[in-house]
């Protein structure tokens, strides 16, 4: 009985407090600079319509691959901030940091007063993008699923930031390298490889990933036909699938990945055909980073998987340093003879 009597007063109190809270937190006035700069509407790779100023002076990058892209486009002077993880090129580590890619400080980003923030679906969270939208900062979200998409994305970012010329020339170069690679590999049977993301537990790649696409361009195909992005598998499955090559990504955490001697000592692994035959290849981990260096990694992989095809090139140009951004054009006309598919 007392319970029912207190209903009206509680209701009243709740409404009153709710109304007070509502009044106190109206949406903030979006930031207006002293002179409003002309803006253009841009559609990002998620289909979002973003208003970006036509004169982008300050960029904040929220992912390592985007930072690399910014440097490759020659825009490093305009990079106002990046994340703790941005490590390539080395100068990027010296830029002001806004935190990790997954949990950057919105305030730090605001403090840098960016004209444009670059984010990507592969490592950033949708909450971060939403929070930045809410405070009125233009965010371009990149969403590459293939190498082709990557190149198109780089073009777009170049156009938005006013670096169209260097963007076009870089992308054209990269495309040319890929075309030449394609031509060299034309006719070669793709190598059946198992791409190892992580050894224990054994994790490989799905058909929808970037790496799968990169493999195709490098003249290889993943033996794992899964729709999940990072399928976990058992060694039994590996034996059943009979890959010709094992490919490891060489990263900071795992610089010894793909070390043949170590694998030769590992139980079960040492009995796998690729290990016995020495068909173990490691590539730089930039094969998983959607940035220009990926093309280098693809080329490196192609060279290791199809040595006969590229032997002539090697003789002409000497050993290549795959970690530097070298832009040597590929020579057309490859020799016959290949290791894969036999």
């Amino acid at each position: 009985m007392q319970f029912r009597k207190s209903y009206p007063s509680i209701l009243f109190l709740a409404i009153a407090l709710g109304a007070t809270a509502a009044r106190a937190s109206q949406a903030p006035v979006p930031p207006a600079t002293t002179v409003p700069k002309p803006t253009a509407q841009v559609t990002d790779e998620l289909g979002r319509k973003v208003k970006v100023t036509t004169d982008v002076r300050r960029i904040v990058s929220l992912a390592p691959n985007l930072t690399e892209t910014v440097y490759a486009l020659g825009l490093q002077e305009r990079l106002a901030g990046d994340t703790d993880y941005c490590d390539y090129p080395k100068e990027a580590a010296g830029k002001p940091h806004v935190g990790g890619p997954m949990s950057p400080s919105i305030e730090a980003i605001v403090a840098l007063q960016p004209d444009l923030v670059l984010a990507t679906t592969s490592i950033n969270r949708v909450e971060t993008v939403a929070a930045l939208e809410r405070v009125g900062i233009a965010v371009y979200v990149s969403d590459p699923h293939s190498v082709e998409g990557l190149l198109a994305g780089i073009r777009k970012i170049a156009d938005i930031t006013g670096a169209s010329a260097s963007g076009k020339s870089m992308v054209d170069d990269l495309q040319a390298r890929l075309d030449s690679l394609h031509a060299s590999l034309n006719g070669s049977t793709p190598c059946r490889v198992l791409f190892v993301v992580w050894s224990s537990p054994l994790i490989s790649i799905g058909q929808g990933t970037f790496i799968a696409d990169a493999l195709k361009l490098a003249g290889a195909e993943s033996v794992v036909k899964s729709t999940r992005n990072w399928p976990e598998m058992s060694l039994e499955e590996v034996i059943r699938l009979r890959p010709e090559y094992l490919v490891f990504a060489r990263g900071h955490d795992d610089p010894d990945a793909g070390n043949l001697d170590a694998l030769r000592k590992k139980p079960v692994y040492r009995d796998l055909k690729p290990v016995r035959e020495g068909h173990v290849v490691s590539v730089s981990d930039s094969i998983d980073r959607p940035a220009p260096r990926m093309i280098d990694a693809i080329e490196a992989l192609a060279h290791q998987l199809h040595p006969e095809v590229f032997a002539a090139l090697r003789d002409d140009f000497g050993p290549r340093d795959w970690d530097s951004a070298s832009w040597l054009p590929a020579k057309a006309g490859a020799k016959e003879g290949y290791l894969c598919g036999r």
Binding site: V29, P31, A32, A108, V126, E127, G206
Partner: protein, 342 residues
């Protein structure tokens, strides 16, 4: 003999509100974007008296767009979780009960994960789905936890634990098998994270949240003196005229709603609902007429403080607030245990 008087109730609440005020001021002051205390005060005053155009747009943005909403959310979540925890401890007659023991947060997590995989780019959908998941679990556990038509403490506890494990198993299954979706956001959600941005109209959103909070917390508060009696024995309480069945139902539904509310906007922040009631009891006694408002304010203090720490400890990276409560929670828990043993 010093029974609880309205005056003591108000003075305790005033003291705690004072502490909360200090913590809020601290939280307003600290952040990646540097803004002096004087500027903060000016911004607040200008806003309150309506001179919004006098405030530099960035101050407005940082104070009202970023920090205040986060603080307000922290207060809401902290108060909800603590009151829910205190309620469950009485309902289940178990000092180890926390708001998640009856599976509400697992249901919410399931809703969140389904929303994340079906509509990955809408944080608002995730909140709604999480709340729906919570409500569904509340209903299911209610029907499972009845015995002879009434809620029975031990049956309810068992039903809740079983539901929680079952739902967690489903969540684990989904997290490993959902095709192609990177459920990165889930990791943050499961830890508890206050950085979710309110939607474009924060006024209504906060108004609605606080409205639900006051209704549910108010409902529990009307049963405060009943709970005092129930804690000394259910049969005894019945003989003293307490409507035990009705009280249990009210506490169950309200505490679960509070938990669902908190969890759907901030994920499952741990330890607060368990420990804050105990700490308040240690300082102010077990009388629920005082405990409920005191834990509400105490929980708000705890969360705002923990969130401030989480933002500053490894700045500019922002830790999820759940990580901070877990770190601080364990030692506090051990200390409480030892005091009880003495």
């Amino acid at each position: 003999m010093r029974p609880l008087t309205p005056r003591r109730l108000l003075s305790v609440c005033a003291i705690l509100a004072g502490v909360l005020f200090v913590v809020v001021v601290l939280s307003l002051r600290l952040g990646a974007y540097s803004i002096s205390s004087g500027d903060i005060v000016m911004t607040l005053i200008n806003r309150v008296i309506g001179r919004t155009n006098q405030i530099p747009s960035e101050f407005n943005l940082v104070v009202f767009g970023l920090r205040l909403p986060r603080i307000a959310l922290g207060i809401l979540v902290g108060a909800s979780l603590s009151v829910a925890g205190a309620g469950f401890q009485a309902l289940l007659r178990n000092p180890l009960a926390d708001p998640y023991v009856l599976g509400v947060s697992s249901g919410a997590a399931l809703g969140a994960i389904l929303s994340l995989s079906l509509a990955p780019h809408s944080p608002l959908a995730m909140q709604g789905a999480a709340f729906l998941g919570a409500v569904g679990t509340i209903a299911a556990v209610y029907f499972l936890g009845r015995r002879g038509g009434q809620l029975d403490s031990s049956t309810l506890l068992l039903a809740g634990i079983i539901s929680a494990s079952f739902l967690s198993a489903i969540i684990s299954f989904l997290m490993t098998t959902l095709a192609g979706r990177d459920l990165r956001g889930m990791a943050f959600w499961l830890m508890g994270d206050l950085s979710s941005a309110p939607p474009a109209d924060p006024g209504r959103w906060f108004g609605w949240l606080f409205f639900v909070f006051f209704i549910a917390a108010g409902a529990i508060y009307t049963t405060a003196s009943d709970l005092n009696l129930i804690l000394t024995g259910e049969e005894e309480a019945r003989h003293l005229g307490v409507h035990v069945g009705r009280v249990k139902l009210v506490v169950y539904v309200s505490a679960s709603l509070l938990t669902g509310l908190a969890v759907s906007v901030s994920g499952s922040i741990g330890y607060v609902g368990l420990l804050v009631p105990h700490v308040i009891r240690m300082i102010f006694g077990s009388d629920y007429r005082l405990l409920i408002p005191a834990t509400a304010i105490g929980g708000a203090i705890a969360i705002v403080f923990a969130d401030t720490l989480a933002r500053m400890v490894v700045a500019p990276t922002e830790l999820p607030v759940g990580a901070m409560t877990a770190l601080a929670g364990a030692p506090v828990f051990i200390y409480l245990l030892r005091r009880r043993m003495r």
